[in-house]
Symmetry: C2
Subunit: 266 residues, 2 copies
DNA sequence: GTTCAACTATGACCTAGGGTGAGAGTCAAC
DNA sequence: GTTGACTCTCACCCTAGGTCATAGTTGAAC
């Protein structure tokens, strides 16, 4: 072992104080350098020597440092008394409250970003079998037609889906869509078309129930609206990917279905 | 005026981009230096040249910077995709939440310190005409007798007083105390003594009403307890400052008063 | 052509709170 | 006398840039 321990005398060397207060030696040097905690010196070798008084000041410094005061501020605080101290603390409090608010904003912003990311992933899963350029055109057109706010709302909802759910829904939907594409040309009141439309209706309900809490079912009006939007310009292009005339066929089948089965819903 | 404006070409000089994105020129130099946003260079003079692509990246950088990411982290983020990005954002969110919690602790700590400060000021006002050494002895003894927790509780209450209130209360109390000191030796059931005791009771009620919300009045039991504590060792010494035998005289007068006027209170 | 204002570049040094390492001196124990 | 623990000072490194100095370039006005 090294040095004398100086058991009784309440005098500390740099390393002793360092261990006692859990501060690095370099930090003590630094505080000395900055005039924040200037120790005595041994005349013979120039070693730093701290007394009980220094320990108390150091504790104070550490408290202020934990409160995020700068070295310069701490120096003033240690000299300040009464009125002054109250003033400084009050200002510091205001600063901290402001920081807290700005961090709140950051957290909100990060959460929004994460939501967007998740929604984008889910959308990618949804449209995985449609060429990217078509999806991008559809995306741009939709954004400009319904406005960013509405899009953001949908995005937030879409982000609620887990990737597994998204995958499952996509498969379900793709299956129905492909089967439906084969019925293009058949009369919309045929048993096969209406059965597929029923599957489609139930599939959309399933998806909605995963997104909206306390979902009770898609109403007549909503389904009619969806039917019409299928044949609108940007959606139309996506649908036609599965077959010529898909959009119009689907619109007609959906409206027929709604008139027969959803009248009076909600 | 300075340079060519290059109206059509979507190419920016350092200062143009600087103004456009509200970033200092030096920051752009720095981002170049750090490899975060490396512009093209004009071959003839070595001037930095930014394109539309750089502007987009810069916006990204600024968003991340606002979210308190470090330059190194931002560099990784700009390269990261999907899973990675989600991971990093999530970690950053955790960091921010932790920071927020630690700031909460700091704010609590500052508020406690400010309270202590205010309480100390009020106590100084209260005991302004009593020698400091006596007050200090009383303080130390009380702390060791009733324990730090109880003392802290009282301190928190005391801090609720404004300095003006404290000053007013001190004057009121001092007046009564001095008048009361003159009655030492008189019978405790004399009219003068009991009138002063009544004033004292009302004064204490006044003070309590300033500290405790919905204060309804000091009960018989409380007042008896106060009377007895006046004659206890550490309080005794403070009282004797105003005259020999003060404590015992006050105790007796208070108990007599309570028996006569406060029986059945609360 | 000259001069001026505006712009550009690089480099050096500064911040707070130290970290890390070099090189040298000091102390006590074996 | 060697070892290990400790000390000192000096000097360079980090972040995210800010500030200042010096010098080169450009375009416009005179």
């Amino acid at each position: 072992m090294g040095r004398n321990n100086m058991v009784d005398a309440k005098i500390y060397s740099v390393s002793q104080l360092s261990k006692l207060a859990d501060v690095s030696v370099k930090t003590l040097h630094y505080y000395d350098h900055k005039g924040l905690l200037v120790p005595m010196r041994q005349p013979d070798n120039g070693y730093r020597t701290y007394g009980q008084k220094h320990l108390v000041i150091l504790q104070q410094i550490l408290i202020y440092r934990a409160l995020d005061f700068s070295i310069e501020d701490i120096k003033n605080l240690l000299n300040a008394k009464g009125q002054d101290l109250h003033q400084v603390l009050s200002e510091q409090r205001v600063m901290l409250v402001e920081r807290q608010q700005s961090i709140s904003l950051m957290i909100n912003s990060i959460e929004a970003t994460m939501n967007n990311l998740q929604a984008k992933k889910n959308l990618d899963i949804f449209f995985q079998d449609i060429p990217k350029d078509k999806v991008e055109r559809w995306d741009a057109m939709t954004r400009s037609r319904v406005g960013e706010e509405k899009v953001q709302e949908s995005v937030q909802n879409f982000a609620k889906l887990s990737e597994e759910d998204a995958q499952e829904l996509q498969e379900e939907s793709l299956e129905i869509t492909k089967a439906f594409a084969k019925t293009i040309g058949q009369p919309i009141d045929s048993k096969e078309v209406q059965e597929l439309t029923d599957k489609h209706y139930k599939s959309i309900n399933h998806m909605s129930s995963l997104i909206v809490e306390d979902f009770t079912g898609i109403s007549f009006d909503s389904y009619i609206q969806m039917a019409n939007s299928v044949d609108m310009s940007e959606m139309n292009e996506l649908c036609e990917h599965y077959g010529e005339g898909y959009a119009e066929h689907a619109r007609a089948a959906m409206i027929y279905y709604a008139e027969r089965n959803l009248k009076g819903n909600k």
